[in-house]
């Protein structure tokens, strides 16, 4: 059984079918990709898989346990972290503070501990380690708002990783990034995959083809194709497209 399994998910908003019978599984220690054209239902899929929306029908299992309909907080406690398309950093805090606030031991203590954080060298060390893994070593004291876009994205992923999840979901990680920042991000994901299973939702085919072990193509709220990047690349239309020409 795969680490993460979703079976026969259905979701609709009013009369609009958004997910129609989606079945997906993500293996441990792999990078799994979900791609599809605009409006294919990728973000809704992300939100249903990570618990933000409850599916109308279908089940989601993580590590053999049914997590369907659990609130996102409980899903996070089971070991699933997610990073969104939308920036959710505390701009007036430093990079290190943003990470430290996401550490599980800090979160568990809640508000009362906030004043003591400057003395909590253990938490600071762990935060600095996460930053270093994200290629942000040396930027501990920089305000989140002062970081360039690519580093903000890396910091967000660092926040998700601070909880030491078993599986990390990334929603459109390349959105808003230029070519250079995208390449740096790809390198970063290649590095963190050593310690966490990753699911990436992305419309940039080339980014996924280079990184993912397995890709599911979503359109019309369904899985219309899946396979290893090399298998998908064999498709004559893919070869004839920009992607094939540039590959």
């Amino acid at each position: 059984m795969a680490l993460f399994e979703a079976s026969h998910l259905h979701k609709r908003f009013a009369d609009q079918v958004v997910l129609e019978d989606i079945t997906l599984s993500f293996e441990e220690n792999q990078i799994s990709g979900i791609m599809g054209p605009n409006g294919a239902g990728k973000t809704t899929c992300f939100n249903v898989l990570t618990g933000r929306f409850k599916p109308d029908r279908g089940r989601v299992h993580f590590d053999g346990r049914d997590i369907t309909g659990l609130p996102p907080r409980k899903i996070a406690r089971r070991g699933i972290a997610r990073s969104f398309q939308m920036m959710n950093l505390f701009d007036e805090y430093t990079a290190l503070e943003n990470i430290v606030l996401a550490l599980p031991e800090v979160r568990d203590k809640g508000f009362r501990v906030l004043h003591d954080l400057s003395n909590d060298s253990g938490a600071q060390d762990r935060g600095a380690q996460v930053l270093a893994r994200m290629g942000l070593g040396g930027r501990e004291g920089a305000l989140a708002s002062d970081l360039p876009y690519g580093q903000r994205r890396a910091l967000e992923i660092g926040i998700a990783l601070a909880a030491e999840p078993r599986m990390l979901f990334l929603d459109e990680p390349t959105s808003g990034l230029g070519t250079d920042a995208t390449a740096i991000l790809a390198e970063l994901i290649g590095e963190i995959r050593k310690s966490v299973s990753i699911v990436i939702i992305e419309h940039d085919m080339r980014f996924l083809f280079d990184l993912a072990d397995h890709i599911s193509v979503i359109h019309w709220g369904q899985v219309i194709a899946q396979g290893a990047p090399d298998q998908l690349r064999e498709n004559e239309w893919v070869r004839a497209s920009n992607l094939g020409a540039l590959a």
Binding site: V17, N235, W237, S241
Partner: protein, 209 residues
Amino acid sequence: MASPALLHVNQVHKIYSRGVFNKQTTFDLQADFTISEPGIVGVMGPNGSGKTTLFELITGSNIPSSGQVLVNGQDIHQVRSDQRDRLAIHYHQSYQVRHFRKRRPNFMLQPSPTDYPLVHLFDEPQFNTQDGYIGFMLDFFRRLRDEDRLVVLCVHPNEPFHLQIMREICERFIFVQSGRLTQAPDYDSLLQNPDVTAYLGDLVGGQAA
């Protein structure tokens, strides 16, 4: 008893009119056809010819003035409105969506006999050669057919490759013009129809060779 046809559009007539005392028909659509077997059916026709109305009638959101739509023998309009898309599903662009009033409460209607739809209607899917998704879309249509579903693919061709796709993937065709349907058993007979060649215009110039 033979198993019922996958899709039976039985003398469906939809009339739009305006005026109260002096009613004038503004548009009427007539459709009467049967598709017994799984397959991929191509639908073409000018804008405003009634293609989307036909799809709305088949999926049950729009109600015919007369006639009925049977999906695998089940009258779609007798199925709970929230479960009709488990029988026949309409994939469309969001701007194509029209909302219809519901005529009867769901508790008075029947549940869908199937969970995953038997009839899949694709309303002008975006075929873009740049992004490479077309191949996956075509494979998906074939997979649905091989799983005994009926695929209805509506395309308004404005590039030669649109027509190539239709020729490659569709086993039969329906041409819609001014609310009337013409059927063709294959691509070559479709092009025998002078209305079709007039509609396709320059696109068939290169195809005929």
